[in-house]
């Protein structure tokens, strides 16, 4: 069954995307739309292909069939490093911080697409390189303050507790001031108090930003999302408001099957 939600002009969408990796059909004709200015969730049991959808959207995986559209335009030959320039930012599963950089430097790396100083100017330590650096630094500190981690600026990731690392990683994704934020399991490994913060944060971004999140944590998804897509075994099996999805028998069946596994 092919499930299509009637969405007019989604900001970001996959159209009939299929992906095969070493003989396995990971995604099968997946069409998912992310409407502008709301929080969209992508859920499904393990191995449903959620992260692969992210990877297709961010250019890490080239679909065997189908296309990705952003702002109505077809995205072709995109490389992951082009995303932030287009206003799309992505967090990775886990934290994915750079272990040899301080928290502040990690966050500043997220603003790479905004940096203009070339390698020669940096090699000669031209004054405008310093000016740019202090500007990016201020922006990074501002985002870290927003997430309550400005006090950890000079620490290395290995010195920080996991939930703080996750916040730093989030700050790195936010510092490029993205229009769209793709969040891969933001709630993974964090406690109840942090979860409440996260909920509040995500809701505070809309409608200025558009959010798509992949998440296992049902409570967070149901609280925070306006729209939810459900994947199972590489296919879209349901979509709708949290209420609709909660009561969808196909979703229950997929998740019960997953519980049994």
């Amino acid at each position: 069954m092919k499930y299509v939600l009637p969405l007019t002009h989604p900001l970001l969408q996959t159209v009939d995307v299929s992906v095969k990796l070493s003989g396995l059909q990971i995604l099968d004709n997946v069409s998912i739309g992310v409407p502008e200015g709301v929080v969209t969730g992508l859920i499904g049991p393990n191995g449903a292909g959620k992260t692969t959808v992210f990877n297709v959207m961010s250019g890490f995986v080239k679909p065997d069939a189908g296309v990705v559209r952003y702002e109505g335009r077809r995205l072709e030959h995109i490389h992951p490093h082009h995303l932030t320039r287009m206003g799309i930012s992505r967090t990775l599963q886990g934290v994915g911080l750079f272990p040899s950089l301080t928290a502040l430097d990690n966050v500043m790396m997220g603003a790479s697409s905004k940096a203009r100083a070339g390698i020669v100017a940096q090699a000669l330590a031209m004054p405008w390189v310093d000016r740019e650096r202090s500007r990016l630094r201020e922006q990074a500190i501002a985002v870290m303050t927003e997430l309550g981690v400005e006090g950890e600026a000079d620490r290395f990731p290995s010195e920080l507790p996991y939930p703080i690392q996750k916040r730093v990683a989030l700050a790195r994704a936010l510092v490029s001031d993205p229009k769209v934020l793709l969040m891969d399991e933001p709630a993974g490994g964090i406690g109840a108090a942090d979860m409440k913060d996260l909920e509040r944060l995500i809701r505070s971004w809309v409608p200025e930003r558009t959010v798509l999140l992949v998440e296992h944590h049902m409570e967070l998804v149901m609280e925070v999302c306006d729209l939810i897509w459900v994947l199972d075994a590489g296919k879209v099996i349901a979509a709708g408001t949290p209420e609709q999805v909660r009561n969808d028998p196909a979703v229950l069946a997929a998740y019960l099957g997953d519980e049994g596994a």
Partner: protein, 292 residues
């Protein structure tokens, strides 16, 4: 045309030796995912052992056996003392460590046996065979080299397909976790890979000695050729290593014949670069896409 055939014939036995050295590199890559840049250093060292034993006994076979034994010990020692402790720290570290071993072995050989180049008389004639009214660029020693190589390849094939040790080694290389769960002693299997590679490398060293002579650095160029062959073959594939080892030998012989032997390293470099550019995982290798 006859020159072309002559050049080809001249390349077969050097190709066989490159194939053996490439085999040694592949054996270790399969077992521990490390390219052992010290491989020719080990082979150089064991060839000096062979030289010493041969000086004492005058017997080529006993010297070869001594080299093989020394190769096994050296392979085991390098694995235990250097590679096993370093492997998980960082990948750059493992590469650098093998170069550290190479430098140490070359210096140690220089200390023990001096820096002079020494000859290694072949056990059978190295002169071209006279047949059908002409002298062919092919000697009885070439026949011996090729014979030993074929025997080794057959032996290794049997080992990996017919024996428990060989199966355990393949399982450990392919999927250590699963192998461990099915009762394979993985770390022991990995050590066998290093021992086996050490022995194969030792044989290659003794076989190449009469043509290249022996000095602490005289095998360096062999490392480049063997690495080229192993990489083009896919680093994972024994068949690839042998095929492209012999192929590399032929190409080098042709290039040296038609132009100049000093072109050989450049040609190997070009082959390697083209291969890495066009097919980064080699001709026989498997493509592993990295998970995000």
């Amino acid at each position: 045309m006859t020159t072309f055939i002559d050049y080809l014939l001249g390349g077969v036995s050097s190709g066989a030796i490159i194939a053996l050295m490439a085999l040694a590199i592949v054996l270790i890559w399969r077992s521990t995912r490390v390219v052992n840049f010290a491989q020719v250093g080990q082979a150089m060292f064991t060839t000096y052992v062979a030289l010493t034993v041969r000086d004492a006994t005058g017997n080529w076979i006993i010297a070869l056996l001594a080299a093989i034994a020394a190769g096994a010990v050296l392979g085991l020692v390098v694995h235990w003392l250097v590679i096993r402790p370093v492997k998980r720290v960082d990948t750059s570290g493992a590469i650098i460590a093998t170069f550290g071993v190479l430098i140490s072995l070359q210096a140690l050989a220089g200390m023990l046996w001096g820096g002079d180049t020494r000859g290694y008389a072949p056990p059978v004639s190295n002169d071209g065979i006279q047949l059908a009214g002409r002298i062919w660029p092919f000697s009885w020693y070439d026949v011996l080299v090729i014979g030993v190589t074929i025997a080794l390849v057959i032996g290794l094939t049997l080992l990996f397909t017919r024996t428990n040790i060989g199966l355990a080694m393949r399982a450990s290389a392919f999927n250590p976790e699963v192998a461990r769960l099915s009762g394979v002693r993985v770390s022991r299997s990995l050590a066998y890979g290093w021992i086996l590679a050490g022995m194969v490398g030792a044989i290659a060293g003794v076989l190449v000695a009469p043509t290249s002579q022996v000095s602490p650095n005289s095998f360096d160029i062999l490392l480049v050729f063997a690495f080229t062959a192993a990489v083009i073959g896919g680093l994972d594939s024994l068949v690839g290593a042998v095929t492209f080892g012999i192929g590399t030998g032929l190409v080098i012989s042709l290039v040296s014949g038609y132009s100049d032997s000093s072109n050989a390293p450049v040609v190997a470099l070009v082959l390697l670069a083209l291969n890495l550019l066009l097919k980064p995982d080699g001709v026989f290798g498997h493509h592993h896409s990295r998970a995000v």
